[in-house]
Point group: C2
Chain length 491, copies 2
Amino acid sequence: MGVLPKRSEDYSAWYNELVKHADLAENSAVRGCMVIKPYGYSIWEKMQQALDKMFKDTGHTNAYFPLFVPKSLFEAEEKNAEGFAKECAVVTHYRLKNDPNKPGKLMVDPEAKLEEELVVRPTSEAIIWNTYKNWIQSYRDLPLLINQWANVVRWEMRTRLFLRTAEFLWQEGHTAHATQAEAIAETTQMLDIYAEFAEKFMALPVVKGVKTANERFAGADDTYCIEALMQDGKALQAGTSHFLGQNFAKAFDVKFSDKENKLSHVWGTSWGVSTRLMGALIMAHSDDEGLVLPPILAPIQVVIVPIPKGEESLRAIDAKVDPLVKALKAKGISVKYDNRDTHKPGWKFAEYELKGVPVRIAMGQRDMENGTVEIARRDTKEKTVIAFDDVLAYVENLLVEIQDNIYNKALSYRDEHITKVETFEEFKEVLNGKGGFISAHWDGTTETELKIKEATKATIRCIPLGSVEEAGVCVFSGKPSKQRVLFAQAY
Amino acid sequence: MGVLPKRSEDYSAWYNELVKHADLAENSAVRGCMVIKPYGYSIWEKMQQALDKMFKDTGHTNAYFPLFVPKSLFEAEEKNAEGFAKECAVVTHYRLKNDPNKPGKLMVDPEAKLEEELVVRPTSEAIIWNTYKNWIQSYRDLPLLINQWANVVRWEMRTRLFLRTAEFLWQEGHTAHATQAEAIAETTQMLDIYAEFAEKFMALPVVKGVKTANERFAGADDTYCIEALMQDGKALQAGTSHFLGQNFAKAFDVKFSDKENKLSHVWGTSWGVSTRLMGALIMAHSDDEGLVLPPILAPIQVVIVPIPKGEESLRAIDAKVDPLVKALKAKGISVKYDNRDTHKPGWKFAEYELKGVPVRIAMGQRDMENGTVEIARRDTKEKTVIAFDDVLAYVENLLVEIQDNIYNKALSYRDEHITKVETFEEFKEVLNGKGGFISAHWDGTTETELKIKEATKATIRCIPLGSVEEAGVCVFSGKPSKQRVLFAQAY
């Protein structure tokens, strides 16, 4: 169909058009808020299910806290409040009334002004820690391991479907612990879960690391993150896990008595991933023909398209395909048989390519005679003719192979795009050339970090976990450095 | 423990204390908004899963639409707007700033006033139909069968946990059809699904019916509902399904071209159930000792409590119980073995009664010697001693039996509380005496309906579906009536 711009010509337009044409999401009448369309939402549901299971398997339970945060609670943890104040949607009134000057129109009722304004949650630490105060008295109440699936609002000025929207969907875990060590262990455990989810389900290799003080979550002592690389060489922060220290416990006076009846503030964590992951999934794997989905997250894993010669031929193919559809479903494979006569096979091929269906099976009149089918894989576009009787086993293997191949392709690309540089000239050359992550020495100061950002738009994505200390000099300031960090331009 | 007031003495206090002590929900720092606690939320999750499957099995898919509705869209369907205007939370600003007069405090930034105010959705017809306008052009785009799981806000002045809260969770289905008949069929199909869910999962018998014009959803041509009866004789509307006619299609100009290329407005439905169902579930079945949960929705279906004589005895019971726990889990039964030494068996018994765990298995030292266990069922509080080797089969059957028994008990109660009356004296006598539904003739006017409400606080819950026509005279006005309707005081 060629409905999409080419990635090589206009990556940004390619992404926008792909999101639209693959029926994933669209802009709404509300500035910066998106509509997640059914096909896009069904991918998000699969992500949710997988993540939810991983959270529950590690002892977390779900709960639900209010959408609104009274301003006085919101401002209690000052750094957090300062970090989010500029992007808060604020409810000030609780009633509309008929506009006396415009028949049929409504206006805000000035008499229904709230005594205290309500912030639409940009994140829920404040309202949750204010609740935890009543839930935690003793060491027996700890650890408290709670997650919430919710919508949040951050009033962003420049928005982009999935990647940055005023309202988005996410999960936010909020845990409380008796000791610092346990809270740090929770923080890194959840980071590991995010990395595992990205790699096993999204086929997306990530770098695990720690943010610099400048990039840290407002109110955290440490922010851990997973960083992924998109096909245009830009990085994307795919998930964060925060060690909150005792900051929220102190702001909301959350204390517990230990076995010796000694009172202490508890230690906290919070961690989240959002519908932004949809953007990462789309940008990491897709091509100029459309979406490429890892089979595990594909709403339709296999599509079967008949290529009949006339009505009778179609009925014969229908009859032949019916038990195959049932056999695939019995294996837990989601399959769609598209025998609509309103669209031609060629149109269907393009449509399912656009939507990223991993495996396409075509069956024509000659296949019927030969006892074969043609199988096309979305990732490599390779086609193979195989015996009809072998389809089930072949497809089962193929789905695993495609999942692996998509991951390995992204991994190779990522690994080829981590470039060590020693000078700022090299830094700029790589950034403006091949792009990707730049591994460089940095003097550890926010000042240098900001100057590099100003000069290049590159930020420190993270200080990778487990990287070895190495003496060097900062690429920008020339001052001594103990360790390389990863820079990149980012979404 | 006796932590709860008795139902017979103070039903309302009993409900509030039960919700709190069974760890279902609590009030938050935000007026009228609740926190759904982990145990309560896990019941809601089970409800969601069952409903979601029923929706998908009938061809619906999930999507997500914005939280905010611009005022100009909100007011487009005038009846709907008028119906909800008085309970709308309104976002007027998108930024906070430091308060120059109060160090460390924030204030709404007057320079960040929105050009157009945003209503926090009380329901999503407006934003969704404004989107459907772009999704529907041809008969090929119909029917459009979409559901959304979301939070909504209705600024209620008098709130009650689960039953009436400013923010609540719900699902809202929004469908569009080519013909009136198809839309009506969808409306009644979804009503049937709600009734089936209430009866099979919640063990809650319901009356299916149609609302009077006065009780209709604002913007609908007809509102169908399921009405349940609580133990205090009050009715509770548990779900509604609306036939919207072409009202929203006309307000948002949603037209389709049929096979002959003729343009027409589409026909709409919307339908929803909410966390209010939690209130219904709690009030319908529970008793003075706590929650009574139908096994299908119970987060913990079976609890096993050891009653050891010392440490060695406990280890022996642990070893004996371990394979039983595994065998129960293998049958898909959710089971908890509570061998904590921080709490006495009696405390545990009361705790799990409070939380409504359907089956409790106790195992003491003598049981070990005799090869028996004691099984207590939550609904009837009967206890039985059975052979250890029979536990698995016994429990499997018992869970089914409890589910049936809870339903049948509620059904008998409901059926005994539908009382036919012929005069207004009788009407008031029944209402103030045994309570429940009153089946009475009504003259069909809103005037009479409102006068009865004013005099008795009873409303017409519904005109039951499938009820036979019967000539009579209105209990209030004495005017002729063709049919009985169901009155009740309601939540």
